[in-house]
Symmetry: C2
Subunit: 239 residues, 2 copies
DNA sequence: CCCGGTCATTGGTCTGATCACTCGCGCGGT
DNA sequence: ACCGCGCGAGTGATCAGACCAATGACCGGG
């Protein structure tokens, strides 16, 4: 048994990479839909004429990327290909970035979060607003930094998703991965920035309540900008 | 030989996933610096007490993600961890997204590219501007769609990197992956949108020459917005 | 001193076996 | 006839070992 069609024709690069591209292509072309189950690793390996090892490496890579999901004892499935699935691995970028790149990531966050916050001011509904308020209150009624951090994340997360663009929200989730925020925040808070942060959060919340997109945009940009500026200065010092 | 330190202590999840996390942690904590070479797969597998297969799957996943790079016959190395390395895989997201998600991705691009274009208007130097002009001229002196597409990509790419934030530019590279643009553009051009695109590009270029960030921002937003709007309408029709 | 080949090292691939988890089939009790 | 439970086939997860292929340093000849 050899080539079934043109997909196996060009023997370029490594075997595993080729398999990755083939599976990716099958998904992109709709031959494999969201939620659908793939043939068994053994069958698929035989079909594409590669060993099971190579097939497994390909599946593992695509799983890591969020395109596939393998359930032990059941089979390999295509994910829903939702923004959250595919962008989960985006957090790794934030975790592995350092120095000037962290500043650049904060700039990206500043731009995107300004937008989501402005959109949220126009679109947020009562239930979502209540959730935002809940995290705001929780953040002001404790001094436990871990708890504050958790509610800080949830506060922005709720706003981001209220903006209606799940893809943008998923990217922001990645930019605010737990380890990323923890690394930056650790130092930021030590300089008594907690009160300022609370004030900025209240300002963002006020803009949401007032349904004022422009104020919301400015408040969010200023909020992220404060952290960005602090990080920028810390980098300049350490040099 | 067993646990060398606390990293191997928690036997959670699958073996491969644990190895992935361990290597990631080693990089994040600076035990492995950019460009540094890792022990051989065989040694590393023995050190962590896993089979070479599992180790290879882990390495493959991190390679796919852009954190590692393995050179046949030489060894496995940590990449420079630059924005381009880590965000290359971001293009997969664009390739696998469909329907409403494409619109959301274009919204993200609209927001980010508005920013980079505005920044470029303030920061671009003579050499970079010349490159932008070159692609603009090339785009206007041919009717070959493939060539136009290539110069279109290069046009925006040059502007994005001229803005100075490589991370943001790398994200935009991912959002403009060849297959993504080709899929959307194919239909877009067929409606005689080429002339309009050229006009919009000229407008962006004019704003750059005039060092006018606000005009540049608006021109870029309008440019991407046109495509976004077209895609939105096409989706509404097909439903 | 330079060039070319040689060979140990190392990633790439394949094979086959075994373990661990799922799920459905069928047996047995009610 | 129905329900519950156990068992076994199917499938992914892991391991072990072998061989192939690319690399790069070392060494001998020119």
């Amino acid at each position: 048994m050899e080539d079934l069609d043109a997909r196996t024709a060009p023997p370029k690069g490594t075997v595993t990479q080729r398999v990755i591209d083939q599976i990716k292509a099958m998904i992109a072309e709709g031959l494999l839909g969201p939620g659908q189950r793939l043939p068994t690793e053994r069958d698929l390996a035989a079909q594409l004429g590669v060993s099971r090892s190579s097939m497994r490496e390909a599946v593992r890579a695509l799983t890591f990327m969020g395109a596939l999901e393998s359930r032990h004892g059941s089979g390999v499935y295509v994910t829903q290909l939702a923004a959250g699935d595919l962008l989960e691995s985006f957090g790794v970028v934030a975790d592995l970035s350092r120095g000037p790149q962290l500043v650049e990531l904060l700039e990206v966050r500043k731009v995107l979060e300004s937008t989501t916050t402005a959109l949220a001011a126009a679109r947020i509904d009562a239930g979502q607003l209540a959730e935002v308020e809940q995290h705001l209150l929780a953040m002001e009624s404790t001094d436990d930094t871990e708890e504050i951090l958790a509610h800080d994340l949830a506060f922005h997360r709720a706003i981001n998703y209220a903006a209606g663009n799940d893809t943008m929200a998923a990217v922001l989730d990645g930019l605010s991965s737990r380890t990323f925020r923890a690394r930056v925040w650790r130092g930021y808070q030590e300089e008594g920035a907690i009160d300022r942060t609370r004030r900025e959060h209240r300002r963002i919340h006020r803009a949401l309540v007032a349904r004022d997109p422009e104020s919301a945009r400015i408040a969010a940009a200023a909020h992220v900008g404060e952290v960005e500026q602090w990080l920028r200065e810390r980098l300049a010092e350490s040099q």
